[in-house]
Structure formats: C-alpha cells, structure tokens
C-alpha cells in the first residue's frame, strides 16, 4: 500500500470548480483517447483515492505526461499534476514497476555505466538491431530520441582536468549539472561555467546525485526519496554557507525546489533550505541583470532562433527569463513558441505505447519551428529531453540558451559546441 500522505496536494482538490479549463489546454488528451483529461483523471478521480482505499487508480492516469500545463492554466490553483504523479506512485506501489520504467528512472546509473566505454555504449544502444530489441523486450520505442554518451569525457572529468584554469573569486556560486550534462552533454556545463566565470563568479561543483525526477515520474517514490536525501546532505554545507545553487536543467531545479518536497512531503531536515537556495540559471542571471551586475557585452548573433520555454521551466512560475536575457543579444531574432509542450515529457515519449502520442503532442511545436522559415538553423530550449525531441522532430540542432549566451559573450562555438 502506498503510504505517502496526500497532505500537500490534497486540500487543493476542493478548489476544483470543474470548469474544464485544464481539459481545454491539456496537450495529451487533445491527441489521444487514452487520457481522458486532467479534470477526470485528476481532481474527479482523486475523490476515490484516499489512503486505505481498496482500488488501485485507473490506468488512464499513467497516460498523463506530467507536463503541468493543467496547473499553469488552472484558475483556482488545483495541483493536478501532483495528484496524477501520486496516483501513478500508487499504481506502482500496488502493481509493481515494469523493468523498463525502472531503467528509465535510473538516469544517473545508466550515465555512469555508459561513460565507462561511451563509444561501445553508444554502439550498443543506438544500432538499429538493439533498438528493435529494446522495443520488443523492454518497450522503449525504437525511434525515440535517446541521448548519446559523451565521447570526450564527463562534465566532472572536464572540471577536474581544467581545475587549475578555473576562475577563483570572492563571489561564488554552486552549479547543479544534473545527469544529462554530466554524462551526455558536458558542453552545456562548460558553457554554464564560462558564462558564470565571465560574470566574475567562481563555480563550485560539489558531488551530487540525480534530482530524482525520472523516478518521481515513473512512480518510484522510495528511490526518489533516497536521492533527494542524498542531495540535501551533499549540498547542505553550501546551502548553510549561503551560496546560491544554479542549474541548467529546468526540470532538475524544479524537482529540487518543489516537486520532490511536495510529492515526498519532505519539508524539513534541510529540504526547505535547499529549495530556497536553488535557482534556474536564467532566473538567477535575470536577478543579476536586475541588480545591474550582469555583464551585457554581447557580440551580435545574426540568426533566427525559435525558442521553446519547456513545460518544466514554465512550471517554475518565474516567467521566461532565458527569453528576456536572449532578447538583449544584438541581431538575435528570438521567436517565442506558443506551443504547450514538445511531447517528450522526460521519459514519457521513450515508451513504446506513448511514442506516437508524444510525437502528436509535439507537432504543435515542430510545425511552429517549420513556420519560422528557411533562415532557421537551430532552435533553443532549456530542457534536455525537449531539445532531443525538437531535434528529432524538426531536423534542426537544438541548443540550451546558456550556450547561446556563451556564444554571445564570444566564449563558445555554437556549431561545434566547444569553448573558444
């Protein structure tokens, strides 16, 4: 039996006035019958899901992608996405977790193992035969945009290698890189370090764990709790010392701030202090800008750049800080997407039964990119899995806004993803 209390999300249930605004904007129920919509799977079904109930929640809630668009548009503040996440956890607790979902939840472990021999791992995962096998045996869609392990070492290895070249400064900031930057896209971390150092900050990268979001999404709350406890412990000294912790993955930072504490009912023992120390990197850079501390010596970047603020970024409710800062770069024509979701929603679109749903959801964004014309050479998005989906759907490379910013500072080659 699922034992987490419903405390932090339960009372919001009574705020639901059944207006159906959530259902009007839900990108998943717009394309499939498998998900009846946030109102039905969320607050309505929730009435039958109190602790101690006999019935396991209806499987349709597993088709909620967790994008949180429902929370964004709800006029009365119902925590619909959290209700659905908890219902999935209850299903997992009652029925067990499929091996596929356990695998997808283990970003960090997969990252570590693959990084031992990345070329071999990439070949092993990405050759067509193994993709078919992975689909048949485990249920990971063969076309899904899985990442490749970095072939020039992890981000951690780079930090170690370049330790004597790193800026030392009175001003210090802690960087939370997340699993994707560590093992698959170390260049995002290098760009972030370059931007932070350019602004006079010494970057501290303490030992850290996966934020736990993939596990929370797949209903593995026990494992997620373990990871969150580790992060509280490993980052605690820096929090106590008053350092800000910035992250380039909008979903990792959202998990540290809100998802993990709310879903796991972890508000004490350092969880709240960690929450209040964590920033999305652009949220933090915008704060520097407001204080007049951000270096704005941008070179011109003459390009058309469709930008999608990811769902997990919008869920921070801090606006679109990356958009605000990129708007300061001369000649850069940033085009803001109005699309609700790219569809991938973390690990959702990797699953064979959900791949097509994810592609159908993403069509809104992909067609938006297409409409921006022939001058488009790349797109931008703050979230890793969304970038991979954008690349998969549009055929254009996708970059993190921090790479765009590093390039505008003249520190970064956008095409080859290398520091200059």
């Amino acid at each position: 039996m699922f034992t987490e209390s419903w405390l932090s999300v339960g009372p919001s249930l009574d705020e639901c006035i059944k207006c159906n605004i959530c259902t009007s904007y839900c990108p998943v129920s717009a394309v499939t019958d498998r998900f009846p919509g946030p109102k039905y799977a969320g607050p309505q079904a929730q009435r039958f899901r109190e602790n101690g109930q006999v019935q396991t929640p209806d499987d349709s809630v597993d088709y909620c992608s967790g994008c949180r668009v429902c929370n964004e548009v709800c006029p009365t503040g119902v925590k619909i996405a959290e209700m659905n996440a908890r219902a999935r956890a209850q299903i997992a607790s009652d029925k067990g977790i499929p091996i596929r979902n356990r695998l997808l939840g283990r970003n960090e472990l997969l990252g570590k193992v693959g990084s031992i021999a990345p070329s071999l791992a990439n070949f092993g995962l990405h050759n067509p035969a193994s993709r078919v096998l992975a689909e048949k045996v485990v249920g990971i869609a063969r076309e899904a945009p899985l990442p490749r392990w970095s072939r020039d070492g992890t981000f951690g290895a780079w930090m170690k290698r370049t330790a004597n070249r790193r800026l030392k400064s009175e001003k210090k900031v802690v960087y939370f890189h997340g699993c994707a930057t560590m093992y698959y896209e170390p260049y995002i971390g290098r760009a972030a370090v370059a931007v932070l150092e350019h602004n006079g900050y010494e970057v501290i990268v303490p030992s850290q764990n996966c934020c736990g979001l993939p596990m929370l999404s797949n209903g593995e709350f026990g494992a997620a709790r373990h990871y969150h406890e580790n992060n509280i412990r490993k980052l605690g000294d820096y929090v106590d010392a008053g350092y800000d912790i910035v992250g380039t993955s909008t979903s990792c930072t959202l998990t540290l701030k809100e998802e993990a504490p709310d879903l796991l009912d972890m508000h004490e023992g350092g969880a709240h202090e960690l929450k209040m120390a964590v920033w999305d990197i652009f949220e933090w850079l915008r704060e520097r800008l407001e204080l007049g501390e951000l270096s704005i010596d941008f070179a011109r970047l003459d390009m058309v750049l469709p930008y999608h603020a990811p769902c997990q970024g919008r869920a921070h409710r801090v606006g679109k800080p990356a958009l605000q800062i990129m708007a300061l770069i001369p000649e850069l024509d940033v085009r803001e997407s109005r699309a609700r979701c790219c569809g991938i929603a973390g690990t959702y679109g990797y699953k064979v039964e959900k791949y097509q749903i994810a592609m159908d959801v993403g069509e809104e964004l992909i067609s938006y990119v297409r409409e921006q014309g022939a001058r488009v050479e790349m797109t931008a998005c703050d979230s890793e899995t969304c970038r991979w989906q954008l690349e998969h759907g549009s055929g254009h490379p996708s970059r993190h806004p921090i790479e765009i910013l590093a390039a505008a500072y003249g520190l970064y080659d956008l095409e080859h993803r290398l520091l200059i």
């Binding site: 207006c19 009007s24 717009a30 019958d33 209040m276």
Partner: protein, 433 residues
C-alpha cells in the same frame, strides 16, 4: 524592470485594460493565477439584460435604461460612467474586435439588445455577439434547425428546440454522427473546434447538414466552428450549406470565450505586452513615506516554485474578479475577503446575510452584489471614502454595486470599467521616481 502598469487578472477586464493602456504608450504587464473567466462565458457582450427586481422582463435597450438602474443601484459603475462613456467603451471594443478579425455586432435596431438562444434554449438578452451567433437572433422568423452530435456531452439539441418552441419560436432538433468531425471516442468542444479548423472537415459537416436541412431553415450548431480558422470556417460552411448558420454557446469550456481570449492575448503580444499565466499574486510592497495616507504601492509579488517573484510597477490595476473570478475568497463562517490587498468589501461578512430566503429572489443575493468600493477614479477607498493607495485601481467583476450574473452585465461592466480605469491611470501626471 519597473513597468508603468501591472494588470492583475487575464479575464476580459484585465485584457481590455492592458490593450487600452498599451495603445496609450504605457509599458504594461499582465499577470494571472490561471486562465480567465472568459473561458466560462458565452463569448457575447452582455451589457444589461435585466433591471434589478424586474427579473421577468428583459431590458430592450440597455443604454436608455441607465436612469432606471440608478434608482435601485446608485453605486452601479454604469451610473458613475454615464451612457455616453459606456457607449464609447463598447464601441471601442467592437472596433478592436474588427481589427482582430473576430467581428462583434449588435442588433440591427441600434442600441437594442439581441435575443439569442442559450445553451438550454432560453432567450438571452445580449448587446454584442460574435458574428457567428448573430443569425440566432430570436426576433428573426426563419424556423430553426438545432443540430447536435451523437455523444457530445455538452450540447442538447432536443432540449434547446423544445424550449425554443415553448417560447413560440419554430425550432426542431436533428443529430449528425460525430464521425463527420472526429474519430475520437471521447471528445470535447475544443477538440471538435480544432478539427473544424481543417477545411476538409468543414466540407464533411456541410454534406451532413445538407442531408437534414429543409429549405428556409437556419441552422443552430454548438459553438465549435473552428478555433484558429473560425471566420473562414463559418463563411465556408454558410456558402456550402446555403443557409444562415449560427453557433449556440455550449457548457464550458467555451470555444467563443477562448477565441476572444486568444485574439486579445495575441494583440497584446504584438504590442510587446507580456501576459503571464500561472502567476498567483500573494503579497505587495509599499513605498516608505512620512505621509501615511494614501500609501504608494511599489510592487506585487507572485508565488513561484521557491522564492516569491517581485513585479515592480508605477501603477497597479486589480482585475482579478470577485467570488467567481477568484479575486475574492471566503470561509465557512461567511467572511469574504479580497485576496491580495485585503481591500474593504461591501459584501456581507456573516454567512446568514449572504442569501435571501428564496433562491430565485428577484432582488438577487447579497453575497453576489458586494465588492470593492471605489471613488470616481476607480481607486479603492476606505470606509470613510479616502483612497487607500494612490496608485491602485480596480475594474471588472471585483467592483461593488453590480450583480453581474443577475443583471447580465458581466462583460459590459468588464469592458467599460477597464477602459475608464485605464484612462484614469494615464491621465495621472508622470512622476519622477
């Protein structure tokens, strides 16, 4: 960055105020907790459908009846504005909607209310309706064919036709298979509207309609004729069917309301106004000053995933609505409060005073008639009539003196007070800060 005007609320009132201020050259930002109440509305502009205490007799011409309104509701915003200002504001809304290619129009007898069929086939007094609803005017004599779709939960053609017949109108119902529009098992009006953005889908619907339509009839459909390509879909369908077509608003979510919200938001985006949804205002700051009253607001803070986010502004316009819109909250003891600034309300604060003994009392229910008391500049005032802040303004459903659902004045109040309040704001001399 400090904006000139921060609008709180993204319903009709907030969006119209933002349009008005942006067109006057102010730097404007709109924040809202969620999507606005337009999503629940019929998408029409109701100005005054019924006078207080005269529930059985619809108003013929709203602007000509303001003096009667003044006798029972002296504090009504319309009474304060006068018919000329109300007329100007409504006309500005209609002009704007024309520019947005979502035209609205009123009765051919200028200044009179239209009478349109509601979602249950009652007659609804409406001042302006979107083009798509105009052919439903019950003063017209062509018989009506109300067409629904098997399995559509939120639209009941038989009920509508029966009720319209009881009112003396010629109406009958027909059903078409939903497969003409969608192959979904489960669907709502929004999904159907998106499907009808596609011309092929409109063609299939037209073919279906021709099967059931008799000569001389006009066709009433649920309001699903396209979201993005609505105007084209409507024109194309009329041409294909060769009969007047009209939409009847369905139960929420409201496609006509979403069309209007989207059109206004896009207009604002083009003007450089950000409309931030999902931002709940939770706190505010005031400028330290040796003179205590009135105070000056410096910012409003919204909830985020961690620390509050501060929005600095020279002026703040509260357009967050009343109990329905979410601007007010209440508890079980009957206390009602405005959620951000805790402004004084005229609403009864004891539960037993909320309602009269009769549910449908012609005098209405006190709890829905209360709101924020303002001065003639639309600034909230204390019990003694003094402004509480020198840069806070209120418009729309939060205002005292109206009973918008009963009067059927929701949109008229929203539009006219939004424009009036924004004019007050930009007539304030620019301060050097």
């Amino acid at each position: 960055m400090t904006v000139d005007l921060l609008v709180i609320g993204a319903g009709l009132s907030g969006l119209m105020a933002a349009v008005s201020a942006a067109n006057h050259g102010l730097r404007v930002k709109v924040i809202a907790k969620g999507m606005g109440a337009l999503h629940w509305s019929a998408g029409t502009v109701d100005v005054l459908g019924y006078l207080p205490e005269r529930a059985s007799e619809p108003v013929d011409a709203p602007l000509a009846r303001l003096s009667q309104l003044a006798t029972t509701r002296p504090d009504h915003p319309y009474v304060r504005l006068g018919s000329k200002m109300l007329d100007t504001a409504l006309q500005r809304f209609a002009d704007l909607c024309n520019d947005l290619e979502l035209p609205y129009a009123g009765s051919s007898r200028s200044g009179e209310n239209l009478s349109l069929p509601s979602a249950i086939g009652a007659a609804r007094p409406v001042y302006f309706a979107p083009s798509a609803q105009l052919s439903g005017d019950l003063s017209r004599t062509e018989p009506m064919l109300i067409v629904g779709f098997s399995g559509l939960r939120d639209f009941y053609p038989t009920l509508i036709a029966e009720n319209l017949s009881k009112l003396g109108h010629s109406a009958r119902a027909a059903f078409l298979p939903i497969q003409l529009i969608s192959d979904r098992h489960d669907f709502n009006t929004i999904q159907l509207a998106r499907a009808l953005d596609n011309e092929k889908c409109v063609q299939r619907l037209a073919a279906g309609l021709r099967q059931v339509l008799e000569s001389g009839e006009r066709v009433g459909l649920p309001a699903i004729l396209g979201l993005e390509n609505h105007t084209a879909a409507l024109a194309y369908l009329q041409k294909q069917v060769n009969a007047p077509i009209f939409e009847i608003p369905t139960l929420p979510p409201s496609v006509p309301g979403i069309r209007l919200t989207t059109a206004l938001r896009r207009y604002l985006e083009q003007k450089g106004v950000r409309v931030e949804i999902g931002m709940e205002a939770i706190d505010f700051s005031v400028r330290q000053s040796p003179i205590p009253n009135p105070q000056s607001l410096t910012s409003v803070s919204t909830a985020t995933s961690a620390r509050p986010l501060e929005h600095r502004a020279r002026h703040i316009l509260l357009a967050s609505g009343g109990l329905l819109g979410g601007g007010f909250d209440s508890d079980a003891n009957g206390r009602v409060w405005e959620t951000i600034f805790d402004l004084p309300l005229t609403t009864p604060q004891v539960r037993s005073d909320w309602f009269r003994p009769k549910f449908l009392d012609p005098a209405g229910q006190p709890v829905f008639q209360g709101g924020i008391a303002v001065n003639r500049h639309f600034q909230p005032v204390s019990d003694s009539g003094q402004p509480l802040f020198d840069n806070l303004w209120v418009c729309g459903g939060a205002l005292a003196g109206t009973d918008p659902i009963r009067e059927r004045s929701l949109e008229g109040v929203a539009i006219s007070t939004a424009i009036a309040a924004s004019q007050q704001i930009f007539s304030v001399p620019t301060q050097t800060t």
